[in-house]
Amino acid sequence: MAEDIFIACKDVSIGYRDRTAPAVEVKANIHLRALKGEMVALIGGNGVGKSTLLKTLAGFQPPLSGQLLIHNRPATEFTAAELAREMSFVSTEVVRAARLTVRELVGLGRYPYTDWFGQLTEKDREIIGKAIHDVGLSGYEERLVSRISDGERQRAMIARALAQDTQILVLDEPTAFLDISNKYEIVSILHRLVNQQGKCIIFSTHDLHTALSMADRIWLMLEGEVVEGIPEEIAAQGYFDALFPKNQQLKFDLEKGDFSLNREPIGTVALSANGSDWAMVARVMERLGFATKRVKPVQVPHPINEILKPISPSENKILLGGSSGKGNPLGEIYVTQIKNGWLISYPGFSLEAESLEALCRILKQLMLLPGS
């Protein structure tokens, strides 16, 4: 087991040293591990020290105190050249070289293995080709790095790290600024590398959903402490709620695996709909700020006095003003799926909406009524 621990932080404190000023400590008492064949997601709010931790791991700055072990050997014992064969790094920095092809960029990854003049051998070329293939950029070898899309460039940067042929890959926000499809691509490439080649990949991200569904281990940097564990454990122990302590409305939803805004509902909707439609309409209600409860279709308690009558605020003023002062100002609203649309009934009136969009509009208008 011990040889499977690729990275271990023992009581590490990270920060910046300055020759003239006292060292600035960003985070202390860090105990973390990363094992062979694991994908580790580093999560934390802005400014909590994620980049500092990654830079410390990558050897750009030494830990202020504590022990950082790489392959069970203190990181301080590695020379830069030795470390480059154990760990590669992908940063958020933009490559500025205007006339560098994808193949040349990936070839730079062979730096720790080539001679003084950087001449590539046949074996180097093979490894470069394989790295390009592994990230799905075959056919892009001669394209200029400055002329490919952001997603392709990020894949090329990962290929460069792969060409460095290291067991550990450290990536600083590899999916930032990418669209969903590219994000998914990048994460699945990393996932494949972990599961097929037994690499250990550590990446920082703000995308909690991806981290929870793909990572084997979470490093969670909170304001006060740094915790680690498998995603389900971290979530179940309620640590994610501590991620944004200043924002009381932001609550972690275990089922959805993501944060949602925890707002006081402005009213309750008793919803009856087909099984497949129910969930969708419930989501619509949640977005509008209503709590939803499930009722049987037949329950329409309020008399339908006039159907298809558009709401005008003046007409319903007295009606809505009658609701009790405390609690939900709007009271309970019934929404029932009917043959050609939706029936909205409220004490004293009913309305028919021919589409879901119309339903939304009517509810919005209800919210804007002076009585509410």
């Binding site: 760990m87 940063s91 920095e93 730079l108 003084w116």
Partner: protein, 346 residues
């Protein structure tokens, strides 16, 4: 070992041919007309040539052409290294004040030579080495200062502006030095500031050529480091680069290259900025194993062209080389900035 495979490529071959043609033309151009056959006779059968023509060729035109080749190659390669190290497309020995640093070095040497180095005549071999060493020191100190600033500030534009400011400050110091120096040393210094490609003597070439060769050799040694620098300092470090060695090597190389040329030819602007861009375009590459030899050749060609232009055919006068390179160079710098839209790509 350095592989000279690149010489077999068409682009390089063409450039070498162009270089030879320009070199020959540079021998022919001047106030005294010399034909191609006369110059070839003088070069290859000195005994059969007209002694007066041979003297013109060997005493004046050949040293001048060799100086042009050296200056062009040296300034361009120094510019290439600086653009990569600072990741700044408009970096160059003149813009960042490396050239004015060497001017200060030379000024201190020449103006103090009057009373400290009384025994050394300025235009002797020892005097030449003294000037060159002073220029190297000035360039090296200035380079160190710029690197310190760049590490602190990180912002490309700010570093450029500071470079220009410091360079003006240094030139002001040089003026003050002139004011306080003795008449005789001032005279030698003024002669130096009017330096041009043509003022290099054959003796001075024995200093300039080995110095530039050393600088170019160091540049060749630094090509792998420079490639890694293309991705930025962090990536370079993460690939196991010995940062200190890389900096020292490029420091030494750029200081020697820019310092030596400034020592003998005075400040020559814009060649160091322009040629690396032309080389990247011509060779379709950002990798330094190709760019360093490419920039070297192209720099030599450009400087020979500049020298040819400076000797307006049919006139006795020669324009100062610095004016020619500036007049031709500034529009090209503007073009580079417009091409990049914003300052960013190298």
């Amino acid at each position: 070992m350095v592989h000279f495979r690149f010489l077999r490529e068409a682009e390089f071959f063409l450039l070498v041919v162009v270089l030879c043609i320009f070199f020959l033309f540079d021998l022919l151009a001047g106030s005294v007309p010399v034909t191609l056959s006369q110059s070839l006779t003088a070069l290859f059968h000195p005994s059969a040539a007209d002694p007066q023509l041979a003297a013109i060729l060997f005493q004046f035109r050949l040293p001048k052409a060799v100086t042009a080749v050296m200056a062009g190659a040296a300034l361009s390669v120094a510019g290439l290294q600086m653009q990569t190290i600072f990741r700044n497309p408009v970096a160059g020995p003149d813009i960042l004040g490396i050239s004015s640093g060497s001017s200060l070095g030379v000024a201190l040497f020449v103006l103090s030579a009057g009373w400290i180095f009384k025994g050394i005549p300025l235009f002797s071999m020892a005097g030449s080495w003294g000037i060159v060493l002073a220029a190297w020191l000035g360039a090296g100190l200035m380079m160190a200062l710029v690197v310190l600033l760049a590490a602190r500030l990180r912002d490309l534009m700010t570093v450029l502006i500071l470079g220009i400011l410091i360079s003006s400050a240094i030139l002001a110091v040089v003026s003050v030095l002139q004011y306080f120096s003795s008449e005789s040393s001032l005279k030698s210094f003024i002669v130096w500031t009017m330096g041009s490609l043509g003022s290099t003597t054959r003796d001075q070439l024995w200093v300039l050529v080995p110095a530039v060769m050393t600088g170019l050799f160091l540049a060749f040694l630094s090509s792998k480091f420079l490639d890694a620098f293309l991705l930025g300092e962090n990536y370079a470090k993460s690939m196991g680069m010995n940062l200190r060695m890389a900096y020292w090597l490029t420091f030494a190389s750029t200081s020697i290259l820019a310092g030596s040329v400034t020592a003998f030819c005075g400040p020559i602007g814009f060649v160091g900025i322009i040629v690396p861009h032309l080389a990247r375009k011509y060779f379709h590459s950002s990798l330094h194993s190709r760019l360093i030899p490419g920039t070297l050749l192209l720099g030599a060609v450009v400087m020979l062209a500049g020298d040819l232009i400076s000797q307006i055919p049919g006139y006795e006068v020669t324009l100062p080389i610095n004016s020619v390179t500036s007049l031709l160079g500034i529009p090209l710098v503007v073009w580079i900035i417009f091409q990049n839209k914003k300052i960013g790509a190298i």
